[in-house]
Assembly symmetry: C2
Homo-oligomer: 331 residues x 2
DNA sequence: CTGTTAGCGCCTTCAG
DNA sequence: CTGAAGGCGCTAACAG
């Protein structure tokens, strides 16, 4: 492996001078610089970032913990895209760590990033509870920001969207179209996002003077497949409904398939809506009414919190209703 | 920052002993070990991976260069998923680098990974040509494997699927269903994948004794939006066709939207097919006939090449026809 | 402007 | 089994 010493020798200077020529803080005579560049060229020298990071005691990197499940394709990739883009805008390299399938593995992922000496860590938790996250934040020297959880004890270390009120907005719209028998496909049991949306559904119904019918509630696990199963289950119950609201767009697409198989047309026979505004929804036929979650904004905010803590905008973000073809009016 | 020295002092031993206790290659008295663990607990010590990597001169990481465009969501995330999973199975952490928007930036991404001292690098190139890749491989000390390009000079450093023959298989199927006026939505100009599929289309037509009609060829840029535009363009030309084959599933979905807007029903009025077997295709209505690209297999192979070079299975993989509802038979 | 001298935190001989 | 000493490749004072 060719080191800075090899370059220094070839150029007939000291290591320090090479280092300076490379990092450009201090001036180096042009002539010497040229000789050094020449030597670098000849030797094919590539600075060892590890050594550099160790010497500087900083890594120019930020970590992101996210559970890398194949099922969450669009969501996952949009998140990584925004995280990488925003990190780079701050001159930082994004390092990913997989939270896998348990709270312990999410902790391990954080530890990995910590041991890699990332300057800051962002986590989109799946298994860790807010209490556990609170604790982790308190014990950590390096800045941590939690995405998609409201941390009341650490309001400036989290960004999230208010799912309950997004759901309320969606329900208001659905009710306004004349739907009263609205089925709901909830997300995984225990998922805060899922529970908030479910709560939003129940509240909206009650506020409209409609008692929620348990027969109209089914559970999925966020995946399209689970949405399909949920749809079949719902249909099998043979209770009347005019609209299905799914906990996310993926499940909504699954429900749509179940409806088609049953010979139901969208939106003539049944209306459908979801959450997340995933790409597919825009192009699905019929295009899917949904709630847009401002991922870009949230991630930009998260990166900002962790890299330039002086900015602290409010941690709460708003979802936005996107009306498309899949919901028809009954009026 | 708490270092190994702090732990050593607290436990009343030397740094070396702590290191040994942690790495477990050499035996340390149980009693001493316990004291050390206790000290680690108390101090909250986390080994500095940077220092460790520098001392060991290895990083236990493999790099992946890929252009992180938002548009290529499903493809991108499936790739990362498999790369991360397979790397971890070999005990390596996956590090991503964005190839962005030019050959130079792809080179930079490789250099970044090299300077991070990744043990091996995988690249899914977008801008670098095979000649440039050949050169990079020859000059690099660290193993590099190229995904989705056939490198004739480096057959054991690449994995790819034979797109031309996959396309031939698709065309054979389409022709067998009685379609002869088949439109083609090509991918970006200059993309090897796109050109191979296009070549497969042309050859299949000629082999069937059909002269390709330039009016039936439109260009897209892989995105759903571009597929939509391409579909509109095609419809505007007002030439007859019974089927459209798109260069990937995303564009196929875009074409479908254009068809719906024009009042055409799928597959009754026009048949549709794509490539890549993306999740959306399975759930689209009608479900999309496509070619499955064995990403899992390819990535597993790529990781294998680079981490355990003794395995060298053939670098070529086969796509597989997935027949679904979007193509109807004319017979 | 440039060379010399010390580390960064950890691992690994080499003695004991 | 354990301690002392040296080094991984680079940067950062401190002199010249």
């Amino acid at each position: 492996m060719v080191t800075i010493l090899d370059v220094a020798r070839l150029a007939g200077v000291s290591k320090a001078t090479v280092s300076r020529a490379l990092n450009g803080k201090v001036f180096v005579r042009e002539e010497v610089k040229a000789r050094i560049m020449q030597a670098i060229e000849e030797t094919g020298y590539k600075p060892n970032q590890l050594a550099r990071n160790l010497a500087n005691n900083k890594t120019n990197s930020v970590g992101l913990v996210i559970t890398n499940g194949l099922y969450n394709g669009p969501f996952f990739s949009s998140m990584i895209y925004h995280a990488a883009t925003n990190s780079e805008m701050h001159g930082r390299q994004l390092v990913l760590a997989d939270g896998k399938h348990s709270a312990q593995e999410e902790r391990d992922a954080i530890d990995l990033l910590l041991s890699l000496r990332c300057e800051a860590i962002m986590i989109y938790p799946k298994y860790l509870t807010v209490e556990e996250l609170d604790e982790i934040i308190e014990q950590s020297e390096t800045p941590i920001v939690v995405i998609n959880r409201e941390l009341v004890r650490h309001r400036s270390q989290c960004v999230f969207v208010d799912h309950q009120q997004s759901c309320a907005a969606m329900m208001a719209y659905l009710l306004a179209q004349g739907h009263t028998r609205i089925a709901f496909v909830a997300g995984s049991e225990g998922s805060p996002t899922g529970e908030s949306r479910l709560a939003g559904y129940h509240n909206a119904l009650r506020n409209a003077g409609i008692e929620p019918d348990p027969q109209l509630l089914v559970r999925g696990t966020w995946s399209t497949d689970s949405g399909y199963e949920a749809g079949r289950e719902l249909l099998a119950r043979d209770v009347p409904f005019t609209c299905v609201l799914a906990g996310n767009d993926d499940m909504a697409i699954g429900v749509a398939k179940a409806c088609h198989e049953a010979g139901l047309r969208l939106p003539q026979d049944v209306s459908l809506a979801g959450f997340d505004d995933s790409v597919i929804g825009k192009y699905y036929n019929p295009s899917l009414t949904t709630i847009h979650v401002p991922m870009d904004e949230m991630i930009r905010h998260a990166v900002g919190i962790v890299l330039t803590p002086e900015d602290n905008a409010s941690c709460s973000h708003q979802g936005e209703l996107v009306r498309r073809e899949s919901v028809r009016t009954l009026l």
